[in-house]
């Protein structure tokens, strides 16, 4: 099977320095304290797919969830709204489009990140990077060009602020709905 969906968050996945997409609201109503103590919390869905180390994909990849590539991909990876991670075992000969693109393996192609591109120490890119923010860790291998747009103002230099604002609003909404749920249960 080419796609291996993970339901539980991997323990050794790198975290980008800016927050990723805001947490999704839970569809289920908030449990009462008694119910929460009795039943184990169901595993949280992370909406992240993984291409395993033994998988080789030739063609275009697109979708609407985060992706971790540990196998080989040739073609095009088009996940502009999501985060793409090329794992340490990943070998990609393709142009990669993503929101935050993290490279720990090898990429032979161009990287386009809407928010940020991160080349980890173990990673290598032979190609060009286009992103408003680029992080190259020392020891990483890079051959190509980096195109960085200048920050328009203080706010735009930190593209995560809008996400943070949305996240706060979402959190407030959740808190309000939780409070309402607790009141309803108490009543």
């Amino acid at each position: 099977m080419a796609w291996n969906k993970r339901d539980d968050p991997p323990t050794n996945q790198p975290e980008p320095t800016t927050p990723m997409s805001p947490p999704r609201p839970s569809a289920a109503p908030a449990p009462t304290p008694a119910a929460a103590a009795a039943a184990p919390e169901p595993p949280r869905r992370t909406d992240r797919a993984t291409i395993g180390p033994s998988i080789f994909i030739k063609g275009d990849l697109s979708g609407e969830e985060d992706l971790v590539i540990e196998g080989r991909v040739e073609g095009k990876v088009d996940l502009k709204q999501n985060n793409v991670t090329i794992g340490k075992n990943g070998k990609v000969r393709a142009d990669v489009f993503g929101k935050v693109v993290i490279i720990e393996g090898e990429v032979d192609g161009n990287v386009f990140a809407r928010e940020q591109a991160i080349l980890r120490q173990s990673g290598g890119i032979k190609g060009n990077i286009t992103a408003p923010r680029v992080i190259l860790e020392d020891g990483s291998r890079f051959k190509g060009s980096i195109d960085m747009e200048p920050p328009k103002d203080n706010a735009s230099s930190q593209p995560s602020r809008q996400d943070q604002h949305r996240e706060r609003e979402q959190q407030n909404r959740e808190n309000r709905s939780e409070a309402a749920g607790v009141k309803a249960n108490a009543g």
């Binding site: 032979d108 290598g124 190259l136 990483s140 291998r141 060009s145 960085m148 920050p151």
Partner: protein
């Protein structure tokens, strides 16, 4: 993907496999760097960095909104496998080293201390390639050592700020320095003239050259 197997820290003529203790990086004031940033402030520029990829430099240069090309010259010279010891890199090598579209023009070239690691003939050949991808007014930063010996591998330079450079050694071993004289620098780098040069206390002469 053979490129990925060649580490940029590879040495050109140096023994490998030794455990070396490296000194702490030094921070030195760079007058040429200050002059260079003064020259590019406020405009989007194309920068060619001939050193290895250094994250802090990328981050620093990002504030200028430049397009940065990183082509690690020393790593490319080190990874030549078909040459005999002592063979010089020729026009073909340097042409392949910069596989850029013909209309590419750089506004800034960061050569760091790499000219100390090229034979004089290689420097002439390489400067021809640099001329191809530059225009009138292109700035070239080069650091020439006046010590008798230099590290066996180029320093890794990190831009601390507009006035200061961090010199990070990659090896404890040394090799003879070519000690290029000022007249040689201009003679070998045809098409470029010295705009400013600064002899620093730590035995490095900084050159800011301009393409005629």
């Amino acid at each position: 993907m053979s490129w990925f197997s060649s580490r940029s820290a590879g040495s050109r003529k140096e023994q490998q496999g030794r455990v070396q203790t490296l000194p702490e990086p030094d921070v030195h004031r760079s007058l040429a760097l200050s002059a260079l940033f003064e020259g590019i402030r406020g405009r989007k520029v194309n920068v060619l960095d001939l050193g290895s990829a250094v994250g802090s430099n990328v981050e620093f240069l990002s504030q200028y909104g430049c397009k940065l090309f990183i082509e690690d010259l020393y790593a490319a010279l080190s990874s030549r496998t078909t040459v005999e010891e002592g063979d010089l890199a020729g026009p073909e090598f340097f042409s392949e080293f910069l596989p850029l579209p013909e209309d590419t023009r750089f506004d800034v070239i960061l050569a760091w201390d790499l000219f100390n690691y090229l034979h004089r003939k290689e420097l002439v050949t390489f400067s021809e390639q640099l001329r191809r991808f530059s225009h009138k007014g292109t700035l070239l930063l080069a650091l020439i050592s006046y010590h008798k010996t230099i590290p066996a591998q180029p320093y890794r330079f990190k831009i601390k700020d507009e006035q200061n450079l961090v010199y990070e050694r990659r090896t404890a071993t040394e090799r003879p320095s070519p000690r290029l004289a000022p007249a040689e620098v201009t003679g070998l780098l045809k098409g470029f003239r010295v705009d400013r040069s600064f002899l620093l206390k730590h035995g490095i002469q900084e050159y800011l050259l301009v393409r005629d």
